[in-house]
């Protein structure tokens, strides 16, 4: 070990350590800072050694937490010193003292650049390290190309290249607009072939950043990642120094699996098989061992493998294996594993169909709520919150309420908010909801926001059956000796409003109710008094015939507050007093409050907003979005097979599940149509639509053999499609417009178009329902799940969904329940088979009843032609001969679009890409032409290669 000590520095550090107290330390630091400042002022007399020493002292003082507001210049100037020792100190101290926003850094850019492009490899390393740690925009602008060159240079040694990779990562992460990564596909692929594991580790980090931004460009790298993972997992050819406690670089394994999670899926069956073999090996082959580090490293790999399995939507069997594994983890002694088990189980909730299996572990999760470690308790709370639905809300909320009294203060607010939200969302019946919230207020008064008690008042006011129950409960709670002021408020409000409903019960005469409320009067703060006054006025109004004694008592109170210093109280007192003397007028003015308009819960809104705030461009979020549109609040994950929901209590009737055929007879014309569709093909009645999608897909369309149009069918379809709103883009066709008083939220056509490019999102939304979609496409098969979410606290009834499929699609819709329970969501899977090419669109005819409103909408389903495409790269040798061999229609279609503003090439390329047409760059001699290839799948044609040139389209059928 070489210690090139600096005596001055050591002496200073010893001095600081010998200080008896903070004051002495400060004096010593001030003295030193004064000394350094004077020495720097007279810079000429400083030797490089002294300069180095003072700069280190500055860093030390800075680290102790003192402000160092001078000397930055000296630190930066050391960077340009000619000798290694000074340069090294300059770089390190600068990158520790400053951050990317400091102006001083600008002064160093030139020197840094010279070091990077110079031949001295140790200088290159220093410069790359600093830029990698604190480089900002200006560094990205002037250095990115040089750094890229170093990374790819074959003459550079690994020690330089691995630093260049991470340096580039930083510049790219901070300024993706400045660092140009076009054409990096091949370079990245080349980097992933790297043999040196240090360089590969750094390159993999860079790769993760690149794919997270745009996975489309890096499909070709996917098999390489799988290969790397396989090599590490099987420990093939991994140098000893890169194994960590016997595990081949756990970090590289984790990173590689992280990169794979940014690809939506893995198509190639062979690659998929290899990957799943590796994953299976990791899942099953990781044992708990004695050595902590070995355990941590192997479990780091295991948890990443779990995340990847979840992401890839593996077979149900493997998923169940994962849940079983997690279930084991949440019960082990080792706290880290418990924590991660809970965290990953929460992530698992996003996977369709896993909720029921996770629910089996509910008891253990509830136990974790009492873990000695707050980090673990938080994870358990998150998980319980996420897994709660109508079936287990009772248990979970009651458990949370019980836990409230012992929970740490740091968690109580979050806990009570979550309990309130769950109670509202999943209440099996409303009286239970009232019980839960009142208990919540009783136990956690200080942590209850006004939103929570406002909400319970809204519910009680809007539900007549609930009012006397709530009043009785409120009276019970108010009877307790020490009551929180929020409880006084909510009870006083409810009793004022509804206690007359109890008048016949023992102990509930107006006078008695008044006494119970008034007993709390001396203990409440001023802010509660107005609520009490209103309650008194209401009690007075409800007391028929009037009770003179009670009247005098209440009048006396009003009188007393008429001179109150608080304006609100004064006004109420004065007004109530005057009103209560007017007799009949009092009845009108103080009559029961009208019902509140149906509105979104402020609590749930708050929770959703909080979620948006913390949303990040992170893998888990992306994953979550791929799983399910984030706009959907998953409330009740019913089993997709249409099984009835778990038994429900009281008001909420059991949901009936009529079969498709029984709903179909409701509309004989539609049924006839669906039968006709099986055998007949149709002439496309759809006029060319004005939207971009239509334009682009138009030329691709391959018309089926012309067949006689069936009149009735034609009518129905054109009735759907031919309405003028093709132009304005509104796809909703109000069949009986007069009955549709419900306005959709958002533009339906825009939602449809967005879904043509994406596989999940919202298809339709109005104040009562939200219909979300999640789809998966494989060759000519598709599976589409409709998520029907009831946004209200009352059930939606007479729900009917009917598919009007065009001739070329075979669509099977599973059962749709007739009723959607309050705040619940049902999933209805659709199986789709593409029989032959066509550009017709399937339509979902959807209707439901809410109260007296009948809503009926017809929605285009995004099962459009490009969903059956799979991009395929084509080489010049393949493209042109085939292109030329196609003579003309019907195999080659040409459409000239005149007098339109040309689209920028890049935009056009992106657009084609999003339609799953793979751009093959550099094929066409004319750089303004775009060439693309794709494979089209349908049952009659099987796989079919399609080639596109510019926007000239040709279809080539290898069978012909």
């Amino acid at each position: 070990m070489a210690m090139h000590g600096m005596r001055g520095l050591s002496v200073f550090i010893s001095d600081i350590r010998n200080c008896q107290n903070k004051e002495q330390e400060r004096l010593r630091v001030d003295k030193e800072l004064g000394n350094v400042r004077t020495r720097f002022k007279n810079e000429k007399g400083l030797t490089p050694y002294e300069k180095k020493k003072y700069v280190w002292k500055m860093l030390y003082i800075y680290m102790l937490g003192y402000d160092v507001d001078f000397g930055h210049m000296e630190a930066v100037s050391l960077i340009s010193a000619p000798k290694y020792p000074e340069k090294q100190v300059g770089y390190i101290v600068t990158s520790s003292l400053l951050n990317e926003n400091h102006d001083f850094l600008r002064l160093a850019i030139n020197t840094v650049r010279n070091d990077i492009i110079g031949r001295n490899e140790t200088f290159q390393c220093l410069a790359l390290t600093m830029v990698g740690n604190i480089g900002g925009r200006e560094f990205a602008e002037s250095l990115a190309p040089d750094v890229q060159k170093l990374l790819l240079s074959s003459s550079c040694r690994p020690l330089v290249r691995k630093k260049a990779a991470l340096c580039l990562l930083r510049l790219y992460r901070k300024n993706p607009d400045v660092v140009n990564v076009d054409g990096w596909t091949d370079r990245m692929a080349q980097l992933l072939d790297e043999r040196d594991l240090g360089v590969l580790t750094s390159s993999m980090s860079l790769f993760v950043a690149l794919v997270s931004n745009n996975h489309e460009a890096y499909w070709t790298c996917l098999p390489k990642c799988v290969k790397i993972l396989e090599r590490l997992a099987r420990n093939l050819d991994v140098p000893q120094e890169y194994t960590y406690y016997g595990i081949p670089s756990p970090w590289l394994q984790v990173k590689t699996m992280r990169a794979l999670q940014y690809f939506p899926t893995i198509e190639d069956p062979n690659t998929r098989r290899i990957l799943f073999e590796v994953l299976q090996r990791i899942l099953m082959g990781t044992d708990v061992v004695k050595n902590v580090n070995k355990n941590n490293a192997s479990h780091a790999v295991l948890f990443e493998a779990l995340a990847l399995v979840m992401h890839l939507d593996a077979e149900k069997e493997m998923m169940s294996q994962c849940v079983a594994l997690l279930g084991k983890f949440i019960a082990v002694r080792e706290p880290n594993i418990r924590y991660l088990g809970l965290e990953n189980m929460t992530r698992m909730l996003l996977v369709t169909d896993m909720q029921d299996i996770i629910k089996r572990h509910q008891a253990q999760i509830i136990t974790s709520l009492k873990d000695p470690d707050i980090s673990i308790r938080r994870r358990a709370l998150d998980l319980l919150y996420g897994m709660c639905d109508v079936s287990n809300a009772k248990d979970i909320v009651e458990e949370l309420l019980q836990y409230l009294s012992t929970a740490d203060f740091a968690m109580r607010e979050e806990l009570s908010l979550k309990a309130a939200i769950l109670a509202e969302k999943f209440a099996p019946d409303l009286s239970w909801y009232v019980d839960a919230i009142l208990q919540l207020i009783d136990k956690a008064g200080d942590f209850i926001s006004d939103d929570i008690w406002f909400r319970v008042v809204q519910f009680v006011t809007n539900n007549e059956d609930l009012q006397s129950y709530a009043a009785a409960k409120a009276r019970e709670f108010l009877d307790k000796p020490a009551v929180h002021e929020t409880m006084v408020k909510v009870s006083a409000y409810i009793l004022g409003e509804f206690s007359h409903l109890l008048a016949k019960s023992p102990g509930c005469s107006p006078k008695e109710i008044f006494n119970i409320i008034h007993e709390k009067h001396p203990t409440v703060p001023t802010s509660t008094i107005p609520v009490l006054l209103s309650a008194y006025a209401k009690i007075l109004m409800h007391t028929q015939p009037p009770d003179p004694e009670l009247q005098n008592q209440i009048w006396a109170i009003f009188n007393k507050y008429e001179s109150c210093i608080d304006v609100e109280i004064q006004q109420r007192a004065a007004e109530y007093f005057a009103l209560s003397r007017k007799g009949a007028a009092l009845m009108d003015i103080l009559a029961e409050m009208p019902k509140f308009p149906e509105r979104q819960s402020a609590l749930i809104k708050k929770a959703e907003e909080a979620e948006v705030d913390t949303a990040e461009q992170s893998a888990i979020k992306l994953r979550a979005q791929q799983q399910m549109s984030n706009a959907l609040v998953v409330i009740d994950q019913l089993a997709t097979n249409g099984a009835p929901p778990p038994p429900q209590v009281n008001q909420l009737s059991l949901v009936k599940m009529p079969s498709m055929s029984s709903t179909a007879d409701h509309n004989p014309a539609d049924q006839a149509l669906s039968v006709a569709n099986g055998t007949l093909s149709t002439v496309d009645p759809q006029p060319p639509s004005a939207d971009l999608l239509g334009d682009l897909l138009g030329p691709l369309a391959i018309e089926g053999p012309p067949a006689a149009a069936v009149p009735s069918e034609h009518n129905v379809v054109s009735g759907l499609e031919g309405i003028p709103n093709v132009v304005d883009g509104a796809a909703i066709v109000p069949v009986g417009e007069e009955t549709n008083s419900v306005q959709p939220i958002g533009n339906i056509a825009e939602r449809f178009h967005a879904l043509c490019l994406k596989d999940s999102g919202v298809l339709y939304e109005d104040p009562y329902i939200q219909i979300g979609i999640k789809a998966e496409w494989r060759a000519h098969h598709g599976r589409l799940v409709l998520f029907l979410g009831n946004k209200n606290t009352s059930p939606l009834v007479s729900v009917q969904a009917l598919i009007l499929p065009p001739a070329h699609l075979k669509i099977e819709l599973s059962l749709v329940p007739e009723t959607i329970p309050p705040r619940a969501q049902v999933q209805c899977p659709l199986e789709i088979v593409n029989l032959r090419p066509s550009r017709d669109v399937a339509v979902l005819d959807f209707s439901y009843k809410f109260g007296t409103n009948t809503v009926n909408v017809k929605l285009r389903l995004p099962a459009v032609i490009n969903k059956f495409l799979q991009p395929i790269p084509v080489s010049a040798e393949e493209f042109f001969p085939q292109w030329r061999s196609l003579s003309g229609p019907p195999l080659k279609l040409q459409e000239v679009v005149r007098s339109v503003r040309p689209m920028p090439l890049l935009e056009m390329a992106n657009l084609l890409n999003s339609y799953c047409l793979m751009i093959c760059s550099g094929l066409d001699p004319n750089p303004n032409n775009l060439v693309a290839g794709t494979t089209f799948y349908s049952e009659s044609t099987r796989a079919m290669l399609c080639l596109v040139r510019n926007i000239i389209v040709s279809v080539f059928d290898p069978g012909n």
């Binding site: 050591s10 000798k83 090294q88 100190v89 390190i92 880290n336 991660l340 980090s375």
Partner: protein, 161 residues
């Protein structure tokens, strides 16, 4: 990614800070204050992770010193925990059974080594052997420069005699 690395002693003294995300001087002081409060008070036998302002802090105690790294919510916690251990092993190898005093008086060494391990908040090298080799090479460069300086100054000193 790792947003910052902190080394804090049991008494709350800061032994090393490295910031990969831009924090101003004020924010840095606040972060250190807050986290010392959270981490130093945690008992033994609890897990090594703490939720903090939408981030996660992974920490581990070695004798009197806490090594802390702040990461994003969805990063792999155990991976980071082992980066900490990896760093400690390299320090241990370099100093020969490292103790807090080594890091106090040679804090600049701790910085050099950290820079060979992490850049941009990502792991750059997972081979202890390679890191040790690179640090040794740096040391010898500094030694050589010192010897040269000494010999030149000797020459000058002798010449001016």
């Amino acid at each position: 990614m790792i947003h910052f690395v902190l080394l804090i002693s049991r008494q709350g003294k800061v032994r090393l800070t490295k910031w990969y995300s831009p924090y101003s001087q004020k924010e840095r002081a606040k972060v250190i204050r807050e986290l010392s409060g959270v981490i130093l008070t945690r008992g033994p036998k609890l897990c090594n992770f703490v939720d903090w302002r939408g981030f996660k802090v992974v920490y581990k105690r070695y004798a009197s010193l806490y090594f802390c790294m702040c990461i994003d919510q969805d990063d792999n916690e155990l991976e980071i925990l082992e980066i900490i251990h990896h760093y400690v092993e390299i320090l241990d190898r370099y100093f020969g059974s490292v103790c807090e005093l080594d890091l106090i008086f040679n804090f600049h060494k701790a910085y050099y080594i950290l820079d060979e391990l992490l850049i941009a908040g990502e792991l750059q090298e997972s081979s202890k052997k390679t890191v040790a080799r690179l640090i040794a090479a740096q040391d010898s460069l500094v030694e050589t420069a010192k010897e040269q300086a000494n010999s030149i100054s000797n020459i000058i000193a002798q010449a001016t005699k």
